[in-house]
């Protein structure tokens, strides 16, 4: 035992080292979470993969490359890419205006950005039809056109880039822009060379989310596009058609293609984000 003024002496009995390990309650928790995820998400998705795999690669290829399906896939991919690109530009502009500008009603406009997250997709489709369909207010009738598909996709993916860029923009100091300005750079140059690089990760992230969302969009497109094969039928609608006609294996095959593309995009986003964050250190 320790007494004043000296270093304590070692006591005699041997010690047992208790090694730290993952606690039992943690494993129980992980088990429960995995069970819930499996029942709700993983097993159903596995069923899709399995039913597609059952066809065998040759049959899968036949389904996926059939003219209807190929057209639908192509339209989906191209539209989603276009929508992601448009959102990258317009979304950044909107974020800029919401962060750096003031005008009456700005708070309301800012709140409305969340509307596509809250509004059911079928209602979104109906509202677009009301404005741009037959008897639309502007006399423009975009129903059954590819423009209609784009409109619907732009509606539902609106918030992604905006909400992704806003916090980054808010944290960005204006001093940096002012410094660049004082050195002679003007408006757009300042933006391009000073602000944009910091925003790029957020823009890419938002655009990636837009792409993934647009790829799988269904409810908003269904009413206004007319779902015309080869013209306005997107991949999710094609899957729907295959289910209705009883070809669930074919539907599964196309579903697997869509899943692979979206997972691929989101995983690469995650990697790019982690890689980008390392550059900050």
């Amino acid at each position: 035992m320790a007494t004043a003024g000296t270093v304590p002496a070692r006591p005699a009995p041997p010690k047992v080292l208790r090694r730290a390990r993952v606690r039992r309650s943690t494993w129980l928790g992980v088990g429960l979470v995995t069970l819930y995820l499996s029942v709700i998400v993983l097993i159903p998705l596995a069923a899709v993969a399995w039913h597609a795999a059952e066809l065998g690669p040759a049959a899968i290829w036949r389904v996926v490359s059939s003219p209807d399906t190929r057209a639908a896939l192509q339209l989906s991919l191209v539209s989603s890419l276009a929508v992601a690109a448009i959102n990258a530009v317009v979304g950044t502009i909107i974020a800029w205006v919401l962060v750096r500008d003031t005008f009456p009603g700005k708070t309301i406009v800012n709140a409305l950005i969340d509307l596509p997250f809250a509004l059911p997709t079928i209602v979104a489709g109906l509202t677009l039809l009301a404005l741009y369909g037959p008897k639309g207010a502007f006399g423009v009738n975009l129903a059954y056109t590819r423009a209609a598909v784009m409109l619907a996709l732009l509606f539902v993916t609106l918030p992604f880039v905006v909400r992704s860029v806003q916090p980054v923009l808010m944290e960005l100091e204006q001093d940096v822009e002012e410094a660049a300005s004082s050195l002679g750079a003007h408006g757009f140059t300042v933006f391009r060379r000073v602000v944009l690089p910091s925003l790029l990760p957020a823009i890419v992230s938002g655009a990636g989310l837009s792409f993934a969302r647009a790829l799988g969009e269904f409810g908003s497109v269904v009413l206004i596009s007319g779902n015309i094969p080869f013209k306005t039928q997107i991949a999710p609608v094609r899957i729907f058609a295959l289910i209705e006609s009883g070809d669930s294996a074919g539907a599964a095959a196309l579903a697997v293609v869509l899943l692979l593309v979206s997972f691929g995009v989101l995983l690469s986003l995650a990697f790019v984000q982690r890689w980008g964050r390392k550059g900050d250190e």
Binding site: M1, A2, T3, A4, G5, T6, V7, P8, A9, R10, P11, P13, K15, V16, L17, R18, R19, A20
Partner: protein, 341 residues
């Protein structure tokens, strides 16, 4: 309410935070665990509290083996450096928490809370939220909260570390007065030696997971057991392996005894103390701490005679050495005959 920690070892991965540490804390005393960061003092406190599990060793509180017991069964009151206030509760509810989870009658809780708020001088702030309090007030609330549950032992983890200097000094004195009133066995962790010296009955100095020395503040200061303890508790001039406290460096106008001549490089006036930076004939530097009167006749660039009132020398094991040979105190060669125990 004694606390015994016996043979405590704790590792975090490869880092050894505590290396076979044994300590006994006497009941009713205010003990400080003092040391630099990484010395293991906070870890030891948390092992005693039950917030960390030691890899080896036992903890005995009031004669009962608490080693396997969770923190809530140990009867310890713990105060955190950053208050750990329950932000969504008022001050009153914070302090009452320990009692209300034991389902005590409301009247008793209210009475005890009022008592404690009066004790820590937070009366009148009972309905405020922690975010509306200053740091010092939050810490007093945390103390009242810990005391409400009538703990056998009070443990404080750098309790004043997050406060600014003036509040820290006030609360130090306040803690000491509180302890004298309540006499709960208290252990507190600090890295500030002035704080430990001012508040504690006994200090436990730790370094790199081991206890270096234990004793009352004065004993530790005047009879340090090794170089680490000596230099941690106060400033030190190191001349080879001779250690001299700046306030033990005597400044003389005439040579006397073992004194030697030194060149004055700089004189700094710090209000109450004067610091005189000197250079010895062999090029070694040291500084003296003295009063304004003693420093009055001195000028930078001139010489003065210096002589230590006391020196200490330790060997590798920390034991004191007798000076060997005729080499003077200020020109000791570094390697000496060392006795290994």
């Amino acid at each position: 309410m004694t606390i015994s920690a016996i043979g405590i070892t704790k590792r975090f991965g490869d880092f050894v935070a505590l290396d076979d540490v044994t300590l006994e804390v006497t009941g009713g005393e205010l003990t400080a665990l003092l040391g630099p960061s990484g010395s293991g003092k906070s870890t030891l406190l948390r092992v005693i509290a039950g917030l960390e599990h030691a890899d080896a060793g036992e903890v005995i509180i009031s004669g009962e083996d608490a080693t396997g017991r969770p923190a809530r069964e140990r009867g310890v009151g713990f105060v955190f450096q950053h208050y750990a206030a329950f932000k969504h509760m008022t001050v009153r509810d914070n302090v009452a928490f320990g009692l209300s989870i034991r389902h005590r009658p409301k009247a008793e809780i209210a009475r005890r809370v009022d008592e404690l708020l009066h004790l820590v001088q937070l009366k009148g702030l009972a309905e405020r939220y922690p975010s509306q309090l200053s740091g010092g007030q939050r810490q007093r609330m945390a103390l009242a909260r810990a005391l409400a549950a009538e703990p056998k032992v009070l443990l404080l983890d750098e309790p004043f570390g997050a406060l600014d200097a003036r509040v820290r000094k006030e609360l130090r004195a306040w803690l000491r007065r509180l302890h004298e009133k309540m006499h709960v066995t208290t252990v507190f962790v600090t890295h500030d030696q002035e704080e430990a010296m001012e508040v504690a009955d006994r200090i436990v100095i730790m370094n790199e997971g081991r206890i270096e020395q234990i004793g009352p503040p004065r004993d530790l200061y005047e009879k340090p057991g090794n170089e680490f303890v000596m230099s941690f508790l106060g400033p030190v001039n190191k001349l080879g392996d001779v250690l001299v406290r700046p306030h033990d460096v005597e400044l003389l106008l005439e040579p006397n005894g073992a004194s030697t001549e030194a060149l004055i490089h700089r004189i700094t006036y710090l209000g109450f103390e004067v610091r005189v930076e000197l250079e010895l004939p062999n090029g070694r530097k040291l500084w003296a701490q003295t009063t304004r009167e003693s420093a009055a006749p001195l000028e930078p660039g001139t010489t003065v005679h210096v002589r230590p009132r006391a020196t200490r020398t330790f060997d590798g094991d920390g034991a004191e050495m007798r000076p060997a040979g005729d080499s003077p105190w200020w020109d000791r060669r570094v390697t000496m005959e060392v006795h290994h125990g």
